[in-house]
Symmetry: C2
Subunit: 207 residues, 2 copies
DNA sequence: CCCTATTACTACAGATGTGTAGTAATAGTG
DNA sequence: CACTATTACTACACATCTGTAGTAATAGGG
């Protein structure tokens, strides 16, 4: 049939390394969003980026390093928006208002840009060990913050202090769960409903 | 070198189908516990069971069906123990006591037999779609039960009723999170600490 | 004790993925 | 405008997994 001499693939645009790395992370994210973590491979990322595998190996040591870099980038972005969204002029005497605004911002943020949060919230197992460890360390940091908040609230209560670490675990678990809900079923709970629910609980607890 | 005529593999014990199916599910569970869901494949299960792949294909349509059957079995076991563990003589007028005992039983159960719960609690993505749907349906059933409980408690409160569905989501998220904690870091929180934490919250809420 | 239904094994063909050595194109510098 | 450092592509050698067609062993009924 075709004794065409195996026509050469047209060269992808030549691009400096740091730009290529960004492109590849974008490609990896697109694959994750489309096919889930199960679909990510050096091969899939290369295809998505319109490039051959050796290019990927030129930019990253391997899949693990690529994913680590991606999570890093996404997490920086996510935290950036989070901090930027949180009110600076919060009244420390009115923690309920802070919670209300905080949750509202969180929900809005996840709704508007689910792709930033998806790789963080929908972690699969089977990722390189380093990646999982890093994520767990970050969670621990967030829990430490929560724990501090809970302790300070607890100090105003009568009776024994709360088990702040325990509750911090619970709070983060809930937040992550609702984050996932927002990502793969955004219609389920409205922002208003979540905020009201949280306030209702808090009003009962703080009285 | 060796022109040994490829000595035949010794036959594995011939076993009737239903027994073989159990063995294969056991093997799959062992693989999951050892290597995580990422390590499961028809090949890995066959090796674990000391058998060749066609044997697996003889017992199940494929990996999806095997995993579905496994989850089914594990879930039946888990729910069985759960029901058996729950007190039959619960005083409906004292829901706090019920919660205390319930959590205690749950924690003990997970501690004593983590392998039963691991495949249920540590669900990865990337499982066959049917499996995920089944699990989600089961969760929904559990949430419905919680939702009912919350509603009935809520009815005794003054003011607007709780958003029972919302809280049911939160409660299940917490339970699953702590289940996972128990499985891969059993030292972290003692049974007593979890029970106390829950009671403390509930006492504040129910007053 | 033999025969046959059941159960298990071998072997192959194909899909998808990894990682790398060798080669070709190109962008920018002198 | 030619040269060279950078960047990209091809091709190969492996590895792992899937599914199935064909063949061999064995347990248990007759």
């Amino acid at each position: 049939m075709s004794d065409v001499p195996r026509q050469r693939r047209p060269y992808a645009a030549r691009v400096p390394m740091d730009v290529r790395r960004e492109q590849l992370m974008d490609a990896a994210l697109a694959v994750i969003v489309r096919d889930g973590y199960g679909g990510v491979s050096v091969d899939a990322v290369a295809k998505e980026a319109g490039v051959t595998r050796p290019v990927v190996y030129g930019a990253f040591e391997g899949l693990g390093e690529l994913l680590t870099a991606l999570l890093d980038r996404q997490q920086v972005r996510a935290f950036g928006r989070l901090l930027q969204a949180l009110p600076e002029d919060a009244d420390p005497a009115d923690p309920a208002a802070l919670v209300t605004i905080g949750i509202e911002q969180l929900v809005t943020m996840v709704r508007e840009d689910p792709d930033t949060w998806r790789p963080i919230l929908q972690l699969p197992e089977g990722l390189p060990e380093v990646v999982l460890q890093r994520i767990e360390a970050d969670r621990e940091r967030v829990r430490a913050i929560f724990s501090g908040l809970i302790s300070s609230v607890s100090a105003n209560e009568k009776g024994a202090p709360f088990d702040a670490d325990l509750y911090a675990h619970a709070v983060l678990a809930i937040l992550e769960h609702f984050g996932r809900l927002l990502i793969d079923d955004p219609e389920r709970f409205s922002t208003e409903r979540m905020v009201d629910g949280a306030n209702r609980i808090l009003s009962l607890l703080w009285r």
